[in-house]
């Protein structure tokens, strides 16, 4: 019981991180219908910018301020990365045949990974736990169930970010434009919406969310390398598909489910096959429930 509760807490924390990345996937897929393969690597870039900021602020004694700076700087720079990637690698291919953007995205993903690897070295980089301690929830036969401050912080930050993001999408003119472009880009353009700008903004926001996830990953695990984006990217994409691609609440729900599945699988089955478990779920969901949990069912027009 206690063990299960601990796995539940761990899974939810992990799921929050996946959910944040998944939102970026689902937004981009919704708006231009492509899998942004480089999104996982933007997440990795965010984690690296976070570690650079934290290293630069070594002298600063106020930990919350340092972490806040890491979040902000990473979000801004990843936003710039997202904008640049879309502008350089995807926009020229809009309207081209369907394989081209995917190949370009795979190329971009390879570029980002190797750019970070060659410029920062292939070594793993580690930071100490910046928010130590936590609350003990219960104790059973000597097994302590703990909710660490770090996990609590991750959950709170995710909820705040997602709340403001939901406000942005549902209540602001920008969000309305994004939803309009998602439904019908041509019609939106006819009605005076600058689709190019809206798409760019979508990439910037998605990348900033990935950056927040990246910094949280860095703080939570304390160890990053240039390759973390690949696995996290596929898992987040699985989350987006599981929740129903194109659906924002679905992405978060899918992220939480994937986090829980991974945590429980590692806790009760074999750790070695935890990635394989997630990949299998991806395949199974796509085979039997292609529109996901909260997605719209797509009707094919001939």
């Amino acid at each position: 019981m206690a063990y299960a509760l601990q796995q539940l807490i761990n899974g939810l924390t992990l799921g929050m991180i996946y959910g944040l990345i998944a939102v970026g996937y689902t937004m981009v897929y919704g708006i231009i219908g492509m899998i942004n393969f480089a999104h996982g690597d933007v997440f990795m870039v965010g984690a690296f910018i976070g570690i650079i900021v934290l290293t630069a602020l070594t002298g600063v004694t106020s930990v919350p301020l340092g972490i806040l700076a890491a979040f902000l700087v990473a979000a801004v720079f990843c936003g710039i990365y997202g904008f640049t990637i879309e502008r350089v690698a995807y926009r020229p291919l809009r309207g081209s045949f369907r394989l081209a953007p995917l190949i370009s995205a795979i190329g971009m993903s390879i570029v980002l990974e190797n750019y970070v690897q060659t410029s920062q070295g292939a070594l793993e980089r580690a930071i100490p736990n910046l928010i130590p301690g936590g609350i003990t929830l219960m104790q059973e036969n000597g097994f302590v169930v703990q909710l660490s401050w770090m996990q609590l912080a991750i959950v709170v930050v995710t909820l705040v970010v997602l709340a403001s993001f939901t406000y942005l999408v549902t209540k602001t003119p920008l969000g309305r434009a994004m939803r309009a472009v998602e439904q019908d880009a041509k019609m939106a353009a006819l009605l005076g919406i600058d689709t190019n700008r809206t798409i760019s903004t979508t990439f910037i926001i998605g990348s900033a969310l990935a950056a927040v996830a990246g910094v949280m990953f860095l703080l939570y695990y304390g160890v990053i390398d240039f390759y973390i984006g690949f696995n996290a990217g596929i898992k987040a994409f699985t989350a987006a598909v599981l929740g129903g691609i194109g659906s924002l609440p679905g992405a978060v729900l899918g992220g939480l489910l994937i986090g829980l599945i991974e945590a429980f699988w590692s806790g009760y089955a074999t750790v070695a096959y935890k990635d394989a478990a997630v990949y299998s779920i991806l395949a199974i969901v796509l085979m039997f429930m292609p529109s996901g949990l909260l997605g719209r069912h797509e009707v094919e027009k001939v």
Binding site: F77, I80, Y81, G107, I110, S119, Q120
Partner: protein
């Protein structure tokens, strides 16, 4: 003059963006002094990157101003010359090991390129002909390699017995993995096949008792020529001993070269033949429009499965050869990057074009291999090349199509005219 000012302003904006983009990683480098992380600013690198972006953007704008886009005619001319390029390449490929004084490393590179040509031709059946986007092709390569590795080390079978077995096993896996994904299309199919590829790699890595795990399989026997081995020791059962010549490493490498050349040519020949038959035509029809195919009575399921199976079979052959060439296999050789490389070769070549695959394989494998001194930048250049080639030529090197069947005179058309449905 006005235009130049505008261009300069544009280039300055690009340089500013480059400054922002490159600042975190080119301008700052993480290191450690043993205990703590430290940051070292590297403004020189950053300045070079920003300067290059500025000059590059300016040059690009000037190029656009003075030079109109190349006419489409060029590609048609290229397609016409393709008639002579292919036989010329074939003659060169056959004669290459006989060029006097050619270093072994070049023949070895030829073996590598031909392996990728074969993989590309195999994947071309799935992606280029049937239009099924497969990002997990490396799974079948791995199945072929491990089939041979396991059969050879556990049951003492040789390369030539295992070659067909590896192909059959890979084809079975092709059907096995293809069956669940029959209903999926486009990007979804790509992601699921990617997931399958990763699952197979994870199983190979973690099933230590069978596959040796990350340590891989050692001492896989080399191919023989009708039982003649290519050992340096000589002796009656070696190639050198039988023909009464001095043993030399180049004999073994040349033999491997001809084995893979033969395998690749078989792949090509089978593909070309299949394209002329009902099955190949059904594949191409499926690529264009799945619903039309269905309504015309084509069995979509079987057609897709045969594409997966035959593509996988050639991947299995190539994997078997790979294991025999290196004598050692480990899961590290079957990562997603391999799938991406092969897919890139197919798409860059112009999906569906057999000659395009050869050209793309030479460029994508040959060029980085020749840049040995820039080994650490190899993948970076590879990724950049993918993006740039896609942006410049989204249809690949050979962007024309000659319909396999047509009424009256066959006309070469631009690939842009092909619908490529969502299959």
């Amino acid at each position: 003059m006005k235009r130049l000012t505008a261009d300069l302003r544009d280039a300055l904006a690009v340089a500013f963006f480059a400054l922002l983009v490159f600042a975190p990683f080119l301008g700052l480098r993480l290191g450690d002094d043993g205990y703590n992380l430290i940051l070292t600013p590297t403004p020189g690198l950053l300045a070079i990157a920003v300067g290059l972006s500025f000059v590059g953007r300016l040059a690009m704008l000037q190029w656009h101003n003075f030079r109109p886009a190349p006419p489409v005619r060029l590609t048609a001319a290229a397609a016409k010359s393709g008639k002579y390029v292919a036989p010329a390449l074939l003659v060169f490929a056959v004669l290459m090991p006989f060029i006097p004084g050619i270093p072994n490393s070049y023949i070895d590179l030829g073996v590598l390129i031909l392996t990728y040509v074969m993989l590309g031709w195999g994947l071309n059946i799935v992606v280029g002909l049937a239009g099924l986007l497969d990002l997990g092709y490396v799974a079948f390569y791995a199945v072929g390699a491990y089939s041979f590795g396991l059969l050879a080390t556990n049951f003492g079978l040789g390369f030539w017995e295992c070659l067909p077995l590896a192909g059959i096993l890979a084809a079975c896996w092709g059907v096995f993995l293809g069956f669940p994904v029959l209903r999926l299309r486009g990007d979804y199919l790509a992601i699921v096949t990617l997931a399958f590829g990763e699952i197979i790699r994870l199983v190979i890595t973690n099933w230590v008792s069978l596959t040796g795990g990350p340590n891989g399989i050692n001492q896989i026997p080399r191919p023989t020529l009708f039982g003649l081995k290519f050992t340096m020791a000589g002796g009656p059962h070696s190639f050198a001993g039988f023909f009464g010549i001095d043993p030399h490493p180049s004999q073994r490498i040349s033999f491997l070269y001809f084995v893979i050349l033969g395998l690749a040519l078989i792949t090509n020949w089978v593909t070309l033949r299949l394209r002329k038959q009902p099955l190949g035509r059904a594949w191409e029809a499926l690529r264009e429009d799945e619903i039309a195919c269905r309504s015309l009575g084509i069995n979509v399921r079987n057609t897709k499965l045969t594409a997966f199976a035959i593509g996988a079979m050639f991947g299995g052959f190539a994997g078997c050869f790979f294991a025999a060439r290196d004598g050692f296999i480990s899961p590290d050789s079957f990562t997603f990057i391999e799938s991406a490389t092969v897919l890139a070769i197919v798409v860059l070549g112009g999906s569906g074009s057999q000659l395009g695959v050869v050209l793309a394989a030479c460029v994508m494998i040959g060029v980085p291999a020749l840049l040995q001194s820039m080994q650490i930048y190899r993948m970076l250049i590879f990724g950049l090349a993918l993006v740039i080639i896609m942006v410049v030529r989204p249809r690949g090197f050979i962007s024309t199509r000659r319909p396999t069947v047509s009424l009256g005179k066959t006309k070469v058309i631009s690939a842009d005219l092909i619908a490529e449905g969502r299959g």
